[in-house]
């Protein structure tokens, strides 16, 4: 991604997740959930989680309105954390956070991001980085039993 071509924000993978999001909809049997808001643009989403006795996120979904970046990020996040123990998800949260701040360069630093590395250029657009991080903060809020999360 470079400064002259913002269309690269909208790579095929992102648009696929935007058009056909994974784990989209409300989950009935949940142990944790939270609502996230981005006051800058009015976007909001709801994250639903089921954590089993082994502390593994065995089910997760999301619902809400948002731009392609926020929707794709939520879709990819749910796919990435489903089936993972909470401590691994915590590591992933930290890595994703460093990624969108531009502090973690996925091709230079060992990491667990996998497909999530597609957001590596978003730090150049601070207002849009919030779109990508809303779902992660909301999930963290749900796990910490914080019912409402804001990106501000």
């Amino acid at each position: 991604m470079n400064d002259t071509n913002r269309a690269e924000l909208y790579q095929q993978v992102i648009l696929e997740h935007h058009h056909k999001p994974k784990n989209f909809g409300e989950l009935k049997n949940v142990t944790h959930d939270a609502e996230g808001y981005n006051p800058l643009c009015g976007d909001h989403l709801h994250i639903y989680l089921h954590v089993n006795e082994q502390n593994i996120i065995d089910n997760i979904s999301f619902k809400g309105d948002g731009c392609a970046i926020s929707r794709a990020s939520a879709s990819m996040m749910t796919a990435a954390v489903k089936g993972k123990p909470i401590d691994e998800v915590q590591t992933l949260f930290e890595e994703f956070h460093q990624l969108i701040l531009g502090h973690l360069k996925p091709d230079m630093t060992p990491n667990h991001l996998g497909k999530l590395a597609i957001f590596s250029g978003i730090w150049q657009y601070p207002s849009r980085a919030k779109c990508a991080s809303l779902c992660w903060h909301t999930m963290k809020g749900a796990l910490e039993k914080t019912p409402t999360v804001s990106t501000e």
Partner: protein, 412 residues
């Protein structure tokens, strides 16, 4: 339109229009957020700092007297611009928000009581909602909201339905920043005055589009910001009728707003200084004066007829994009085009048109109740000024088509 008006010629007065963004010439369509500044305003501010820097209303030395004279000249200029009866009715503030907060604190806290009703509309900017909500929570006043219809307008009758013997204040936006609607404020003021209810008009989006005559409107208060009138940020105006301002207590205490101070007692200064505590934004006020001169030289007759032709052109062009939804289709509108694309969220659209060097605003425009009314989280907004051209709108249309291509091409 007089023959002398030429947008092409006017564009040369705005140095910011000659920059490139992402390698493309800037197309600036975010005038409702802030307007660009003509060279004469920039020069005037620079000249002030270079040759007449001084505090006002203080020293007896040459520079202070000169700065004071220039500063006060602008007060008279603003009086003339709004056709106020007296220059002492013009108070300099930080901007529209500051002006509204001044009235909420000074007038509101003094004269509004528990159970008093207060009317605003559904299309107010947050700055004309939140100060009154804070007052509601403090004093127990009741906020009543004029609903808007699906064109983004309301009628005088809609206002009248909310009017009761308990109504004690009305505060309305003249031109909506997110819809462009021009509201029937003159008739509303007449109706409110039959019950002696004071009316505040938020003119932030008005003063750059249409001429304002506060005596003809007969509003009690009128507020606007300098930076939306091609002037600097950080300076605004509160106009108030003398009899209202006289009975209002000061908003802030400090220097300049006093006649005499002892530890026992302070006597407040006369109008308008009673409301201007501390050193004002002197350079800002002087820059605002240059901006008013600039706008008056172009003339509102030219501005209105040119902007209306651009608005018609833009409305037609946007309407040709399949399923694109215009938000704000009132009969009386200023040159503001808010819209929602069927497939692309406003923020994605904003990012993609920015890549083409086009600045539009995306989001809720500090009018979340309007977004709620239309059932959208956000809109994209192109807001026009007299330096915009049909070509700017053509570029925007091309960029929207380009964004659509990106969204669909990458997804097969």
């Amino acid at each position: 339109m007089t023959k002398s008006f030429s947008a092409e010629k006017i564009r040369q007065d705005f140095p910011n229009l000659s920059i490139t963004v992402h390698g493309k010439p800037l197309v600036y369509l975010d005038n409702a957020a802030t307007t660009l500044k003509p060279q004469c305003v920039i020069d005037r501010i620079q000249q002030h700092y270079q040759k007449e820097t001084s505090n006002v209303h203080r020293g007896v030395h040459y520079l202070s007297e000169r700065a004071t004279a220039e500063f006060e000249k602008v007060r008279e200029k603003v009086r003339c611009f709004l056709n106020a009866a007296h220059s002492s009715e013009i108070i300099f503030t930080k901007g529209t928000t500051d002006s509204i907060n001044l009235i909420a604190h000074s007038y509101g806290r003094t004269f509004l009581q528990k159970g008093d009703e207060f009317i605003i509309s559904e299309m107010e900017h947050h700055s004309n909602i939140v100060p009154w909500q804070m007052l509601r929570d403090e004093k127990g006043i009741i906020l009543k909201i004029i609903p808007i219809d699906d064109t983004g307008a309301y009628s005088v009758e809609d206002f009248q339905k909310l009017l009761t013997p308990r109504t004690k204040f009305v505060s309305l936006v003249y031109i909506s920043n997110s819809l462009g609607t021009i509201n029937p404020v003159a008739q509303i003021i007449t109706l409110a005055h039959k019950q002696n209810i004071p009316v505040l008009i938020d003119g932030a989006q008005t003063v750059n589009h249409i001429p304002v005559d506060v005596q003809k409107l007969d509003c009690d208060f009128f507020v606007f910001s300098g930076h939306k009138l091609f002037g600097p940020t950080g300076v605004g105006v509160l106009y108030g009728k003398t009899h209202q301002l006289k009975v209002m207590p000061p908003y802030q205490g400090g220097g300049d707003m006093i006649s005499s101070v002892t530890f026992e007692k302070t006597t407040y200064n006369v109008l308008p200084y009673k409301f201007e505590a501390g050193t004002p934004h002197i350079a800002g006020v002087i820059g605002l004066g240059a901006a008013i001169d600039y706008v008056m030289a172009i003339g509102f007759e030219n501005i209105m007829s040119y902007e209306q032709s651009l608005l018609e052109y833009g409305t037609r062009a946007l309407s040709k994009i399949p399923q694109l939804r215009l938000i704000g289709t009132a009969k009386h509108k200023a040159a503001i085009l808010s819209f929602v694309h069927p497939d692309i969220h406003a923020h994605d659209l904003g990012t993609l048109v920015d890549e083409q060097g086009i600045a539009i605003r995306t989001g809720h425009h500090c009018t979340q109740p309007v977004m709620k009314h239309f059932g959208v989280p956000a809109t994209a907004r192109a807001s026009l000024a007299f330096y915009n051209t049909q070509q700017d709108i053509d570029h925007l249309i091309d960029a929207i088509i380009y964004a659509n291509t990106i969204f669909n091409q990458n997804y097969e």
